[in-house]
């Protein structure tokens, strides 16, 4: 192991040096995370470059335990003097808080051994002209397909890459690299009769440049999503079936993800507290969190504490089978970590998803809409009207009114309301259209009934 470390560049050695220094300053345990990376982002608007951003950044986070007391610090200043000061200061800070009986690093023998390669890194580097060209193409595609697309918030192309080094006083030292390439465009369409405007957007994001959709495909989809909103109106207040498109069903999965987070649960701040092994949804509902998907946007070889990631079945055939936990929240609940520690440098670990998704069903979206006589197809949700303690749910919505099994006309300025428990229990159908566009994803979902408030 020593041989291996000496071959690393400075960050691995830096982590080991600081861990040793922390021990000498009174820390009984410690861990260090070092992240660095570079980003390049291009925004084009109406065919001309609007903004170029380039940056390199690095950050180091230190967490120490002095017995059962702990504190975390972070800095972007890597000078020896500043880092020495940081170690001393962190130990002092830890001594100022109270003992917390369950605090501490994970148990030593659970640390990730092998660091698997999930193919998260692409060494492709685009030059400025190439990135500008891609951003121009995605915007041009969105602007050229329909004359009602009259304006644009711009087309973007971003690329970034970075690495994470994590080490702790158990002797764990791990490192991985990752990259990301993304493009998006937000066209604006104008209603030729009323002059009313609508905006929507579409995007693609991948760890590998070669796997991105073409700019033309992304632009075309953005235009389609925008133009179809023209002429939107309100509907009357009524209780109807609600179909969530994959993006919005994904936001519902995001709510589930928040509710099964160990921190919300042990604080009594989740409506799913005490619901483990109890039915949450019908038996065709299965939800996974899988940190080991090759090339996955949420994949990582080890979590924010150095524990191996895994595939966790969160909901199995409708039954809530697992929470998402790190070491601390797991200990609070008397459970083992699920390898979901998420670490932003300088913060204490929290719980975050890896690749969190609802397993797809067999129906096409058309099949699902066909089953609705009167109802709502939701393509946009805005606002923060969700009470995670009770599950009460009320958000602004837009989309399409469904009449006789078909999308009839666009709707806006309405809300959908209910309770997340009832919404999960009320999942009636699941589409076959799962695509991994982010860390939390879902196919189309039909909910039996919700209150729609409008006129």
């Amino acid at each position: 192991m020593n041989q291996q470390i000496q071959q690393r560049d400075g960050y691995g050695q830096l982590a080991l040096d600081l861990l040793a220094k922390a021990k000498r300053s009174g820390a009984t345990e410690a861990d260090i995370i070092i992240a660095d990376g570079e980003t390049f982002s291009v925004q084009v608007r109406l065919g001309a470059v609007d903004r170029l951003t380039k940056a390199r950044e690095k950050r180091l986070g230190l967490r120490v335990f002095v017995g059962k007391r702990s504190a975390s610090t972070s800095t972007s200043d890597f000078s020896v003097e500043s880092l020495n000061h940081l170690v001393g200061e962190t130990c002092t800070l830890a001594k100022a808080v109270v003992e917390d009986q369950v605090s501490g690093l994970p148990v030593a023998d659970q640390m990730a051994g092998e660091i698997p390669d999930f193919d998260l890194y692409d060494s492709t580097r685009l030059n400025t002209e190439q990135q500008i060209e891609l951003a121009k193409r995605v915007e041009a595609a969105a602007m050229s397909t329909d004359e009602r697309v009259t304006n644009s918030e711009g087309g973007d192309f971003d690329s970034s890459s970075g690495r994470v080094v994590l080490g702790n006083s158990h002797g764990f030292l791990g490192e991985y690299q990752s990259s990301s390439f993304s493009m998006s465009v937000s066209p604006i369409a104008t209603d030729p009769e009323t002059g009313a405007m609508q905006r929507d957007s579409w995007y693609a994001v991948q760890r590998k440049f070669a796997k991105l959709d073409s700019p033309e495909a992304v632009g075309l989809e953005a235009a389609r999503r925008t133009v179809r909103k023209l002429g939107a109106r309100k509907v009357a207040t009524q209780r109807v079936p609600v179909v969530l498109d994959p993006e919005m069903a994904g936001s519902l999965m995001g709510n589930l993800c928040g509710a099964v987070s160990g921190y919300a649960l042990y604080k009594g701040a989740s409506f799913l507290a005490g619901q483990l092994d109890k039915p949450l949804a019908p038996d065709y509902v299965t939800v996974y969190d899988d940190g080991r998907v090759v090339g996955g946007l949420g994949s990582r070889p080890f979590d924010g504490e150095g524990l191996p990631t895994r595939r966790t079945t969160v909901v199995e055939r409708g039954v809530l089978k697992s929470y998402l936990l790190d070491t601390y929240s797991g200990r609070k609940l008397g459970l083992a970590s699920t390898g979901n520690a998420s670490r932003s440098v300088g913060e204490n670990p929290s719980v975050g998803p890896t690749n969190f998704y609802l397993a797809p069903g067999t129906k096409t979206v058309q099949d699902i809409i066909k089953t609705v006589k009167q109802g709502l197809y939701v393509t946009d949700l805005i606002g923060f009207g969700i009470n995670m303690v009770t599950g009460d749910y009320s958000r602004g919505a837009a989309g399409f009114w469904i009449e006789g099994g078909e999308l009839a006309y666009p709707v806006e300025e309405i809300t959908i309301a209910g309770n997340l428990k009832e919404m999960f229990a009320g999942i009636e159908m699941i589409g076959n259209d799962l695509v991994f566009r982010g860390r939390i994803t879902s196919p189309t979902v039909k909910i039996a009934e919700m209150m729609v408030a409008g006129n």
Binding site: S72, L93, T237, G268
Partner: protein, 476 residues
């Protein structure tokens, strides 16, 4: 306040800084600036009656920006090396299609902000961790004493001490020290297996003693506990269009979402805002006068100068119902040929400048708040809110009530569960029929997100009556 003393704290000399600017401001670049920032943030938090977490974070860096026409070139770095400045210069040069080289910028003129809206002694900004811990412990005791049904109290106290320095190609060098703090309390109440939460908080560009004035910290604890207990007895909220009375203070988030974002100059220059082309037109009833004011002492949204070094001001947005102005940064003011309002803000050296709100509020009217409630036969009285959001282009906005009551027969009756209110920005204020004489500013908790950047803001509102807005409850 900021001049050479601060420049020194970044380890730089004036000639180094202006030499770098000269490198960035190549031919065809209209404007360039360097934004130096050093920020120390500290946080302590409590739950389960234990203050068990403390964090501290130190960041320092520089953002280098050049604009040419509508184009912006931007680079940032946490190190101020020659290499990083070259990267910045190359990015800037690219957008300007200009050859490299070194140009001279005017000899710097030092501008000190002529006032200090937050003159806080550094010892008041950097209090010992032990004092922060005892503040949180006292909050726990107070909230639990309020009612035995309070089962958990979560509180956090965050401070930030930011030193900034802006050097511009106009030849100005100006700096500011921007302290900021916030105390946040959340209580969980439980009764018969049912749980509810209540939250309260506040702060500003204030020193530590602010939280002890009039036992403010204990009031925050009681307010959070009160809201949690109240919500235990809340009934389902109504659904549909009805009159809504908004209480004073934080419900001013209505203004922030419904009109504030829509009046930011960038969206209007690009004509992507529902308010584009409405200057001089009626967008509210004549009882509505709304301003954005960055000059209120000690307020969370206040600044001596914005992040381009422009002194903040008070901007009339809507005067007796008529749209009067947009809020601007340098780029958009120049391109639109409209006044510079001192609203160019950025989250940090890692972010570009955007026109952003400061403290946005409606001026007091003449109605008696109680008379406003009496005027409603059946509706909603909403006094506290969570977050809000707006779609700039179609103008539809939402904001979600966290404490609200039914109004029945002119009287405030039962508490109702949280519900989202949805309306249309250019239209909603035309439905404001009464404005109270009780203008209140919020307690200092607001954070506004735009383009992935968060900045602290304030809002304010007197009690107002909105004749009709859609309430997103579950009951007919």
């Amino acid at each position: 306040m900021g001049d050479l003393v601060q420049l020194k704290s970044f380890g730089l000399t004036e000639s180094e800084v202006f030499g770098a600017l000269g490198r960035v401001k190549v031919r065809d670049v209209d404007y360039a600036d360097l934004y130096f920032e050093s920020c120390v943030s500290e946080s302590v938090s409590m739950e389960e009656s234990l203050v068990k977490r403390a964090t501290k974070s130190v960041s320092q860096g520089v953002g280098v920006r050049a604009t040419a026409g509508e184009k912006t070139g931007f680079a940032y770095s946490d190190e101020l090396t020659k290499k990083d400045l070259e990267l910045a210069a190359d990015t800037a040069r690219y957008i300007a299609n200009s050859p490299g080289g070194t140009n001279t910028v005017p000899v710097p003129v030092h501008h000190r902000p002529t006032r200090d809206l937050y003159p806080i002694d550094r010892t008041q900004a950097e209090v010992a961790t032990a004092e922060r811990v005892s503040l949180l412990n006292a909050i726990d005791v107070e909230a639990r004493r309020y009612d035995p049904r309070i089962k958990n109290v979560m509180a956090s106290f965050n401070t930030e001490y930011k030193v900034v320095m802006v050097a511009t190609s106009e030849g100005t060098l100006v700096g500011d020290v921007q302290p900021l703090s916030r105390l946040q309390v959340t209580c969980i109440a439980e009764e018969n297996g049912q749980r509810q939460a209540g939250s309260f908080g506040g702060g500003g560009r204030v020193g530590f003693q602010f939280y002890y004035e009039g036992d403010r910290y204990l009031r925050f604890a009681r307010e959070a506990a009160r809201e949690a207990i109240l919500n235990l007895s809340a009934v389902e909220a109504p659904a549909g269009v009805m009159p809504v009375v908004l209480g004073g203070g934080w419900p001013g988030i209505l203004l922030h979402e419904a009109i504030g974002h829509g009046l930011e100059a960038d969206f209007n220059r690009k004509k992507t805002s529902a308010f584009s082309n409405l200057l001089g037109k009626r967008v509210a009833s004549d009882v509505c006068t709304i301003v954005d004011d960055g000059t209120l002492p000690g307020r969370r949204g206040s600044l001596n100068m914005d992040d381009e070094g422009t002194p903040t001001g008070r901007t009339m947005l809507i005067e007796q119902g008529i749209l009067r102005g947009y809020i601007t940064d340098k780029l958009n003011a120049r391109l639109m040929g409209i006044p510079l309002t001192g609203n160019g803000r950025r989250e940090s050296y890692q972010s570009v400048v955007l026109p952003r709100m400061t403290n946005t509020f409606m001026l007091a009217g003449t109605s008696d708040p109680e008379e406003i409630i009496r005027s409603v036969d059946r509706g909603l009285y909403a006094v506290s809110f969570g977050g809000g959001q707006v779609d700039i282009t179609n103008g539809k906005f939402v904001f979600s009530a966290s404490e609200a009551y039914l109004i029945e027969g002119g009287k405030v009756t039962r508490p109702v569960k949280g519900a989202t209110l949805i309306g249309s920005g250019p239209d909603i204020l035309t439905k404001v029929s009464m404005v109270g004489h009780d203008l209140k500013l919020d307690e200092g908790i607001g954070t506004c997100g735009k383009d992935g950047q968060s900045v602290p803001v304030g809002v304010g509102l007197p009690t107002i009556r909105i004749d009709e807005i859609t309430v997103g409850g579950t009951q007919r």
